[in-house]
Symmetry: C2
Subunit: 253 residues, 2 copies
């Protein structure tokens, strides 16, 4: 019931009530919350007020609405963790790149669509790859899926003088993936630098990753360096924050 004397807006009180029920477990993941009409009657407020309350919970990512069906408690993070210690040479010899390795560990079926094209380096890419602006780069644009649903977008850029006449310019890079081909071409990988940030999904990403509104994404930029300290590849990865968790292991010294 809404307390008008408290000074707290009615829609926030309704939202808080539902949030409590969800976090307490009275409304478990997947459960349908009462309809807008029912909530309005129960709390003695109007439907727009109830809708505002539900809009809050949607923005928090707690619930999803489905027209004609109801509003449902969001199921928990699909604990599809991604161990990033998979970039080792040994792993490359076992399977085909990190994504397939994660899939095997997580027990889901991976699929990928790839587009390969060429462009001249924009300022940001040029800085990261340490090449002149306008240098020709090979772009590998990938959409990765787990059991058919898109979970990750990745765009790799490499200087064309490295990729020319290699399988990297093919859609299928072959066993071990892109990094294996780099090592075939005598570019010995030394280390990677990953930069992790989070932000709200753009509407393009929302569409591509089939995200409900109000979900954040993890944006990861990985730069691969060879033993000479030269940057070989810049990979911009976007993941639904809902579905991913990144794990890093760091030595104490």
């Amino acid at each position: 019931m809404v307390d008008h004397a408290s000074g707290i807006p009615a829609y926030r009180q309704v939202a808080a009530d539902l949030r409590d029920q969800i976090t307490r477990g009275d409304l478990p993941p997947g459960a349908r919350i009462p309809s807008e009409h029912q909530l309005a009657e129960r709390h003695h407020v109007s439907r727009p007020t109830v809708r505002e309350a539900i809009a809050l919970l949607r923005a928090e990512g707690l619930v999803v609405a489905e027209r004609g069906r109801g509003v449902f408690v969001r199921s928990q993070r699909t604990v599809q963790r991604l161990a990033r210690n998979r970039l080792s040479r040994a792993a490359r010899q076992r399977d085909e790149g990190a994504f397939k390795g994660d899939a095997a560990a997580g027990g889901w079926t991976p699929s990928t669509t790839v587009k390969v094209y060429f462009e001249s380096a924009d300022p940001a890419t040029a800085t990261l790859l340490d090449v002149d602006e306008g240098t020709e780069v090979c772009v590998r644009d990938r959409v990765m899926r787990a059991d058919g649903i898109p979970v990750q977008l990745a765009t790799s850029r490499l200087p064309r003088d490295i990729t020319r006449d290699t399988a990297i310019e093919q859609t299928d890079t072959g066993p071990g993936g892109l990094y294996a081909r780099l090592e075939d071409a005598e570019h010995t990988l030394d280390h990677f630098v990953e930069t992790v940030s989070a932000r709200m999904a753009t509407h393009v990403e929302q569409a591509a990753l089939q995200l409900p509104e109000g979900t954040p994404v993890i944006a990861l930029t990985r730069v691969a360096y060879d033993t000479d300290g030269r940057a070989l590849e810049v990979n911009a990865i976007t993941m639904s924050a809902d579905r991913y968790e990144l794990v890093y292991e760091l030595p104490a010294d």
Copy 2:
């Protein structure tokens, strides 16, 4: 102007129009967008419709509303990056913990408030620390500020049998911080495991970090292990995604 024949809801058309103006730069960061009344008149829609459009942009984190003043375009990310390779023994000997080190590198003034208390381990903590549920743990609850504004929340938990009679149970842990005291007590640190995820801020975090609505946070869980493979500390860190970027360096092999 709204096109009723397009099938696209009016509030989305209004939102798209404003979004374009913002991304194009016509409405630069800090600028005030037209008032709800003006937008309603201009697009020939009602005020509630305009409000719904603005609610969308707020959820996307593009604008912030200030009652009595107007709605303003959000200013850009403050590129305060945080290199996470600072957990080395050498760094501990130089300064006092990772946060002060980051501050020195970033050129801002750090300040911290600490609360220390004891509790019995909840299931999640017990699992991570590999102790029995209910074991007494020492909790260090910290709010970290950069130039006075809160940027990070961190809660460390350690089994009490490790912290008893050490400076870890004091608010001020002394030079080199918590990890230096652990090594003083013959617990040699071996490695850390960091788990990174992103999600929308809870309303508690929103208040503590003074975040506008609709901003995501980066949630990081760090577990410190000693050379025997024993978990010494679990640190749950929450950062505004606006203000942080994490950098990891990984060896290729």
